[in-house]
Each structure stands twice: as C-alpha cells, then as structure tokens.
Amino acid sequence: MSVFRAILLCGLMALYAPVSQAEMNIEITEGIESALPIAVVPFAVQGAGMPVDVRFVVNSDLARSGYFRTMNELDMHSRPSTADQVRFNDWQALGQNYLVIGQIIESGGQYNIQFQLFDVYKGTQLLGYRLTSAPTELRRTAHKISDLIFEAITGNKGVFSGRIIYITSTGGNKQRTHRLQVADTDGFNAQTIATSPEPLMSPAWSPDGRQVAYVSFERKTAAIYVQTLATGARSKVAEFPGINGAPAWSPDGQKLAVTLSKDGNPDIYALNLSTRSLVKLTQSNAIDTEPTWSPDGSHIVFTSDRGGKPQLYIMPSSGGQEKRLTFSGDYNAGATFSPDGKNLAMVHGNGGDYRIAVMDMATRTVNVLTEGRLDESPSFAPNGSLILYASRKGGTGYLSAVSIDGKMQQKLMFDSSEVREPAWSP
C-alpha cells in the first residue's frame, strides 16, 4: 500500500511541478498533547485509479494543523466507506473522537467524492458533502475537504486551500537563478511566477490575494513591482535612487508602505498605488524599514536602529508619534501582525540566535516560539493559527510552521536548499 502511494506521488510530481521539481515532505516535529484524535479512513475508490491519494492529503492537512492527532490506517480495525458500515463503539474503543469516511467514483474523467464526518461519541454526522473534481484539481479538492472538516470541528476557518509564495535560489554565485514561486500550502503544485539572475525579495500578497508586490534587482538596482497572478502582468511602482524595499499593503489595498533611501537614509513612505503619490512617514537619521500595517489600517509597525540596535516601533499610519514596542532581546525586526491584530510576530535576536517570537499587543508580553538559530520572515496563516517562517539547519534552508502558542511545529522540506521569505495568502 505505501509503495503504491509512493509511486503515485512520484508520478504526480512529474505532472505538477515541471519547473521547480519542488518535492516536499512534511514532518511534524512537535505536536500538541491536547490535539483531537481523528480517524480518516482510506476512501473506497470505484473506477479508474486515482492520480492523487485524496485521503492522504486530507490526513496530512489535519495532522499539520496542530489541532488533530490523526490515526495510522494500520491501526484501524475496519474500513467503512458508507455510514451503514460504521460501528461507533469500535472507534470509541480506539480512542477516536472524530471519524471521516468517504468514497470516490470515477466517471467520464471526473471524480465524484463523497465524504462524511462523524462525532464518534455522539454517534452523529457533523458534515456530509458530495464534490465533483477534475483529475487536475484533486489535490485542491482534498485541501477544500480538509478546510470543511477543520471548520466543522474547530469553528475556525481552515487554511489548507490557500497558497504560499516564497523565493528559491539555485546555482553557484556566477549563474545564480532566483525564482518567485507560488504553491499550495503543503508545497505541492509549485509554479514559478518570476525568474531573474539577480535577487528577488520581499514578496507580499495584496489583501484580495490577486496581486503580489516584490522587490527585484533585475536591473542591478532595486525596484518594487506589483504583479497580477492570473495574467502575469506587472507594473513597476518604485525605482528611486537607493533602496526600494519592504513593500507592505495597506489593508484596503490602496497603498504600499515601502522603504526608500532616496533622501539619504532609509525611511518609510506610503505610496498611493493609483496616484503614485508618496508621503514620507518617518524622519529619523537612522535605519527605518520593514513596515507592516495593523489590520485596521490605523498603525504601522516598523524596524529602526535609532536606539543603536534594531527594535520595533509603532506609529499612526499617517506618521508621527513613534513609540518603541520591543525591549527584550538585542534584536527585534521584520514584524507582521496577526489577522486579528492581537499579536505581532517578529524576528527576535538574543545572544546570536534569531528566532520567531510573538508579542501580545494588549500586554506587550513577548513569547519566543522557535528554537532555530537563523529563523526569519514570519507570516501568519489567514486564520491566525499558524506562523509560517524560514529556517535553516546546516546547509539546508526550509520552511517551517509553528502554532502561535509554540506547541506545534512542522517542517516543510523542499528540494531546493535555498527556500525563503514565505508568505501565506490572505
């Protein structure tokens, strides 16, 4: 069975990742003890063989959410695929709280997928859906199923059918290729949306998820571009002398906060995307960079070394009245707000280690979540439950996700040893 699956997955890679060959493994390195036990029974399949193991994708999504402890299929005593085959007592005896069963019927090149979610102790159905999927959309359909299950049980929106954007680099110093890639949240279906021999940096999703702002050095100086994902069309929105960096969308999508050094040292500006007008928001003689908007648009948090070392500061989004936010550790930078604005994730440096930390904005308490030495670029999942970030161990760079309480940690491995700056789609 597992051999069969491995073959299926290999075939899938060839089909779906022609550009990047991004092969990904997900490894849950830490889990929550209170995670809810759930059994996802292998789906019964009628008709042609499946190009994607839908159940495997759903099971992996639930496992990496941090909310669930999934059951190994080898430990299952029965494999029901219809409701009349379910004996709740058996699943109670196996310590399961939830049960997912399903069947897939292939007909005319389409797949009809039916699944049901049960509360094992109450013996009731919580969810039942019948979905139709083209063969090429099976993975995305599986992620959608995961989202439906996640929301039915936790009450929070699932995030599995979203996307992530990130940057990879390959080749030696003289023939380096930098790629901006978009993939499913489990790293599959990677597609390259921009390629350059010069560095690409700082991808940022527009609030509607249709556009991405990023920095490109393709002309050997920095410029900020906004690219529409569906068409690939892009426009250059900033190419001033010096730094053009750190684009951050305002929550209404009308402005980009950017870092420019055209007047001498790096300051934060608000760039109106329709009028292209610029408003200078910081005036210090130090480095001011890495702006991020609060979700209500009222404030901007940024990194500044005006106090000697890089620390986070907050100001109204119209500028002025800057206040220092971080006081612990000797380095706090690269902040991003949680979608509800209650938490602020950052790169927290202390004693030479750089880790992901979260500040509770109400109490200003800082909690260090990760244990790497070179962790950076935190990005919240749209439901605020996970923080995606870039990490490195030895020569291998990888993406990782951590729950905001730090209790669940997972590692997403790519073929490329240089993968960085992940951002989760809104």
Binding site: V19, A83, D84, Q114, Q125, R130, T132, A134, T136, R140, T141, S161, G162, N173, V182, N189, Q191, I193, S196, P197, P199, M201, G209, F217, E218, R219, K220, T221, A222, Q227, L229, T231, G232, R234, E239, P241, G242, I243, G245, A246, T259, P266, T289, E290, T303, D305, P310, A333, G334, V347, G349, Y354, L374, E376, S377, G394, G395, E421, S425, P426
Partner: protein
Amino acid sequence: MKFKKAVLVLAISANLLTACSSDEEKDLGLTDGSQGAAAGINDASTSGLSNGSGYSGSSMGGGAGGMGPGGMGPGGMGSNNMGPEFSDPNNPLSKQTVYFMLDSSQVQQDFVPIIAAHAHYLQGNPGQRMVLEGHGDERGSREYNIALGEQRAKSVANMMKAQGVSESQLDVVSYGEEKPAAFGHDESSWELNRRVELVYQGR
C-alpha cells in the same frame, strides 16, 4: 440512514486566486475556470520573463542609477583593461573588498589605506566610475540587512568623497544578504559576507 439526507451536493472550485468564501462554494458555476486559474500562473512566469527587459547583464546599459554600459559583475573589474597595479598583490589597488564587523557600518582601520588608494586612482581618472556594492551576512531580517549594506557602502563612499572623489564617479547599491560571497552558515562565511565590493565599471 438519516445522514444520507444531510449529504449536500457541492461543486468545488480550486480557483485559489479568487479565494472562495463559503458562500461561493454553493455556486455551481465555480467548477468552470479552475483550469484557467492554474494556467494563468504559468502565463505569469513566461510573460514576466519576456517582458523583463534588462534581465540579462548585456541589456542593462540604460538602467536607472546611471551605471555604465555592460556593467560588470562583482569582482569582475578585469585587470586586463585596468593596468598592472590592479593585479600586483603588493599594491592596495589589488584589493577591492572592504570587510565589516557584525551589525556595523564603520570602516575598520585596516581598510583605510585600500580605500585611500582607490580614491586616489579615481581622482586621477575622473572618467572612471565605480559601483560600491554593500552586503551583509545572513543573520537577522533581510530588509534590515539591505539597509545595513547600504550604510556600509555609503561609509566607503563618504571616505572617498572626503578624499576628493567626485560624487558623479560613485554609485551605491545594497544587496543585503542576497548575494553572499561565501555560502557557509558560520562565522567564517559570515565575516566574508559583511563587505563592500569596489566594482570598477567598464569604460
């Protein structure tokens, strides 16, 4: 048996670029177009490429920042057309990299004579231009390292200007940690990456 009634019929769309709300899920029309969305991303990669004038080094002549034609890569100043003093290891002109301490843009004493020698050369060759490329090590956040790299390059530029080099001969660009000279992940690589490269532009 009662759960059978609860089985909903739902057409699903994988059109991830127009993030589906749960309301949209009930729209049967969404099954169409999912392929188009995936194809659109592929288009982006190709059209992004073909539109990108200036992706290759040879077409960057008119690039912003007024860099000279046929800009050379880092370290590519080529002693062939620059005179023998640039390849003589006893001559400070043979050294074109200035190294920095952690999180610092202050020029260390050891590098002052090297910067002075290049400043002297630029003064004597007013038609010669130089790009000062600032770099940092991989630690900390990337955009902060861009800012730090620019401060390093400007420290070197300011020393040169103080010695009489014309501002019009110098350009500054910071690559932060994006173009490491050494690819290791320890102090021995990091100290090679905290640097400013003095790159003479072709004439």
